[in-house]
C-alpha cells in the first residue's frame, strides 16, 4: 500500500465518522451522497443565516432593529418558557380549586363540586395546536366531499359538463374572499346555547375546506376519467357491477391522482389558514402573528420571526407526512418520490 492510499483512506474515515451512527442504523453511508444530502444543505443554511444577520443589523424599524438569528433563537426559548409557566399556572389553578371543593364537600356533603376551566392566555404552542387541528379538520372535510364528487364527475361526462363551469369559476377565487360570507353565514346559522366548537374555529375550518375542495375534485376527476381503456374493457368482460367496478378498478386506479390533489390542497390550505386567522382573528398561528404585530413590543418582530419559521417547518412537515402516507397507501411508487 502506498502512502497516498493510506492518506486518502484516513481522510475518508474522518469524513464518515460523524455519520457513522447512520451506518449503525442500517443506512448506507456513501461519501458522495453525504456531500449532496447533508453537507450542502448545511452550508446553504449557514450562508442564509450569515446573510440574514448581516441584513438584520442594517435594518432599523420603529420597533428596534430587525431581529437576527440569535435574537430569534432566544425568543424560541422564551416562548417555550412562557408555555411552561402558563401550564404550571393552570395546574396550580386546578389544584386550588380541587382543594377548595374538597373542603366544601367536607363541610356540606350535599354540595356538588363544580370545576371551572382555566381561562388564561393561549400560548404559542396552543396556537400551533389550534392551527393544526383546524387545517386537518378542514382538509378532511374537503376530502370527504371532494373525492366522491370527483369520482362522480370523472365517471359521468354529462355531470362533468354540468359541474365543470362552476368549478372553473370558483377555483381561482381566493378563499379569503369567501371569509366574510362564511363568517356571516356561520353566525346566522350556527346558533347553539352550548356550542360543540367555537364559531371562529368553524369559520377558519370552512375557509380551509373551500380552498382544499377544488384541487381535490379536479385531480380526482382527471384520475378517474383518464382510466386506461383496457382496464375498462377488463371490467366489461368480467361484467363487474357498477359498484364493484368503482371499488375494484376506478378507485385504485385513481389513487395516485387523488394523492396529488390532496398534497396540493394541503399545501394551499396551510398558507390560506394563516391568512384567514390573521384576518378573522380566529385563534391560531395567524392570530399570534397579528397579536404580536399589534402588541408592538421590542420582542415582537423576533417573535413573529419565530412564528414564520415554525409555519414553514410545519408546512414542510405536513407535505412530508402526506408523502409518507402516499408511499404507504398508493401502489404507484413512481408518483410518490418528492
Amino acid at each position: 500500500m502506498t502512502d497516498a492510499s493510506v492518506v486518502s483512506q484516513s481522510v475518508n474515515e474522518g469524513k464518515s465518522s460523524p455519520l457513522s451512527f447512520l451506518a449503525g442504523l442500517g443506512i448506507a453511508v456513501n461519501p458522495g451522497k453525504v456531500f449532496s444530502t447533508v453537507l450542502m444543505p448545511i452550508i446553504g443554511i449557514v450562508v442564509f443565516l450569515l446573510i440574514w444577520s448581516g441584513a438584520a443589523r442594517n435594518i432599523d424599524t420603529s420597533l428596534g432593529k430587525f431581529p437576527g438569528p440569535v435574537v430569534v433563537w432566544e425568543q424560541f426559548g422564551s416562548l417555550y418558557q412562557e408555555h411552561v409557566t402558563e401550564r404550571e399556572k393552570a395546574e396550580a389553578f386546578y389544584q386550588r380549586q380541587e382543594k377548595r371543593n374538597a373542603a366544601r364537600v367536607a363541610k356540606d356533603p350535599d354540595y356538588v363540586p363544580k370545576i371551572r376551566a382555566y381561562t388564561g392566555k393561549e400560548t404559542f404552542l396552543d396556537q400551533i395546536a389550534t392551527s393544526l387541528v383546524t387545517v386537518m379538520s378542514g382538509f378532511l372535510l374537503a376530502a370527504l366531499v371532494a373525492i366522491p364528487l370527483g369520482i362522480a364527475i370523472g365517471l359521468n361526462k354529462t355531470l362533468n359538463a354540468a359541474v365543470n363551469p362552476i368549478i372553473q369559476i370558483f377555483k381561482p377565487v381566493s378563499p379569503l374572499a369567501w371569509l366574510p360570507l362564511v363568517t356571516m353565514v356561520v353566525s346566522a346559522l350556527y346558533i347553539s346555547p352550548d356550542p360543540l366548537v367555537a364559531k371562529s374555529f368553524l369559520n377558519s375550518m370552512i375557509t380551509v375546506m373551500l380552498c382544499c375542495l377544488w384541487p381535490m375534485v379536479i385531480n380526482t376527476s382527471v384520475g378517474v376519467s383518464s382510466l386506461d381503456r383496457d382496464l375498462i374493457n377488463v371490467s366489461r368482460v368480467l361484467r363487474l357491477p357498477a359498484l364493484k367496478h368503482v371499488q375494484k378498478i376506478v378507485l385504485p386506479a385513481s389513487v395516485p391522482m387523488i394523492f396529488t390533489g390532496m398534497r396540493l390542497s394541503l399545501g394551499v390550505a396551510w398558507m390560506v389558514l394563516i391568512a384567514a386567522e390573521m384576518l378573522a382573528q380566529n385563534p391560531g398561528l395567524g392570530k399570534f402573528v397579528w397579536d404580536e404585530f399589534q402588541n408592538g413590543s421590542s420582542n415582537s418582530l423576533a417573535r413573529i420571526m419565530v412564528a414564520v419559521i415554525v409555519i414553514g417547518v410545519i408546512g414542510f412537515g405536513l407535505d412530508r407526512a402526506m408523502l409518507a402516507i402516499q408511499r404507504f397507501a398508493s401502489w404507484d411508487k413512481s408518483k410518490a418520490t418528492h
Binding site: 368480467l238 361484467r239 385504485p252 386506479a253 401502489w331
Partner: protein, 282 residues
C-alpha cells in the same frame, strides 16, 4: 364438427368527422369447437375490430355473432380476452388479478378452498406459480402476458380471444410463450381466435389461418387450412416442406395479393411536416 361460433355477415361502419367509414364489409366466419384460428392481415385491416365485435366490446353495424346458438350482444366472461398489453391491474398481485376474475365468474358456485385451488392451478398452467404474489411492475413483459392468459383461462371461456398477445414481446420470449400456449392448448383444447402479425406464429399455432384483405371495407380474403401434425416442434417444422409451403402461401397473400402500395409518407403529409418544421424554425 359442430359450429361453436358463427360470425355472420358483419359490417362495421364508424362515424368519423369526414362522414361514415366502412371498416368491415360482409365478414363471414364459422369456427368449430376446439379449433385454433388465427386472423392475419396488414395493420388497419380491421382484425381487432372483428375480435372486439366477437368479444362484445363493439357492436356490429349489421350482421351478428352467434355463440352456442345465442346472439352475442355484450361482453362476458364466456368470451375471455387476452389483451395485447396484458391489462393487468397494476395494484394487484398476479394471484389477485386472477382472483378478481375467478371470484366474479365462480364466486357463487365454488367454495373458498376450491377458488384458491383453481387460481393456483391456472397460474401453474402458465408456469407463474413461483411469482404468484408479485405485482405486475415486478415481473417481466412475458410474465405479465402469462398472468393475462391465466386470468383468461381461469374464466373457463367458451372461446378465448387473443389480441396480438405476444406482439409486444421480444423474439425469444415470444417463442417461449408460443411453446407454452401449444402445451396448454394440447391439455385444454380450447377454442381460440388469435390476432397476429407474425406469419410463423400463425402457421405454428393454428388449425386455420384467416387472411383478411386490406381496408376500407375489409373482409375475409382467403382461409388456409394448416394440417400439420400435433404436437408441433418449431425445430422439426423448420425442415418440413409442408410448413414452408404454408408459410409462403401466407406471405404471398400478404405481400402479393394484398400488398400495401402506399408510400412511406404521403405527399400531403410530407408537405404538412415541412410546414410545421418551418413554423418551428421561425
Amino acid at each position: 364438427m359442430s359450429t361453436l361460433l358463427d360470425i355472420s355477415h358483419i359490417d362495421m361502419v364508424f362515424d368519423t368527422p369526414k362522414g361514415p367509414f366502412t371498416a368491415l364489409k360482409g365478414v363471414d366466419l364459422k369456427i368449430a369447437k376446439g379449433e385454433f384460428v388465427s386472423l392475419i392481415g396488414h395493420s388497419g385491416c380491421g382484425k381487432s375490430t372483428v375480435l372486439n365485435i366477437v368479444a362484445g366490446l363493439l357492436q356490429a353495424s349489421s350482421g351478428g355473432v352467434i355463440l352456442n346458438g345465442r346472439e352475442v350482444s355484450e361482453p362476458g366472461p364466456d368470451r375471455a380476452v387476452v389483451f395485447q398489453n396484458h391489462s393487468l391491474l397494476p395494484w394487484l398481485t398476479a394471484y389477485q388479478n386472477v382472483e378478481l376474475a375467478v371470484k366474479q365468474v365462480f364466486g357463487r358456485t365454488k367454495g373458498k378452498a376450491e377458488i384458491k385451488e383453481w387460481i393456483e392451478h391456472n397460474l401453474q398452467l402458465v408456469h407463474m406459480d413461483h411469482a404468484m404474489h408479485k405485482r405486475p411492475d415486478e415481473i417481466s413483459g412475458g410474465m405479465k402476458q402469462r398472468v393475462g392468459i391465466a386470468r383468461a383461462l381461469a374464466m373457463q371461456p367458451e372461446i378465448l380471444l387473443m389480441d396480438e398477445p405476444f406482439g409486444a414481446l421480444d423474439a425469444l420470449t415470444r417463442a417461449h410463450m408460443q411453446d407454452s400456449l401449444m402445451e396448454i392448448q394440447q391439455e385444454l383444447n380450447n377454442t381460440v381466435i388469435m390476432i397476429t402479425h407474425d406469419v410463423d406464429e400463425a402457421v405454428l399455432l393454428s388449425d386455420r389461418i384467416v387472411m383478411m384483405s386490406n381496408g376500407p371495407a375489409a373482409t375475409v380474403g382467403e382461409i388456409l387450412e394448416i394440417n400439420l401434425e400435433r404436437p408441433r416442434g418449431r425445430l422439426e417444422l423448420a425442415q418440413d416442406p409442408e410448413y414452408t409451403r404454408l408459410r409462403s402461401e401466407v406471405l404471398k397473400f400478404l405481400y402479393e395479393k394484398q400488398r400495401k402500395v402506399e408510400p412511406m409518407v404521403k405527399p400531403r403529409v410530407r408537405k404538412k411536416v415541412q410546414e410545421s418544421r418551418q413554423h418551428e424554425a421561425a
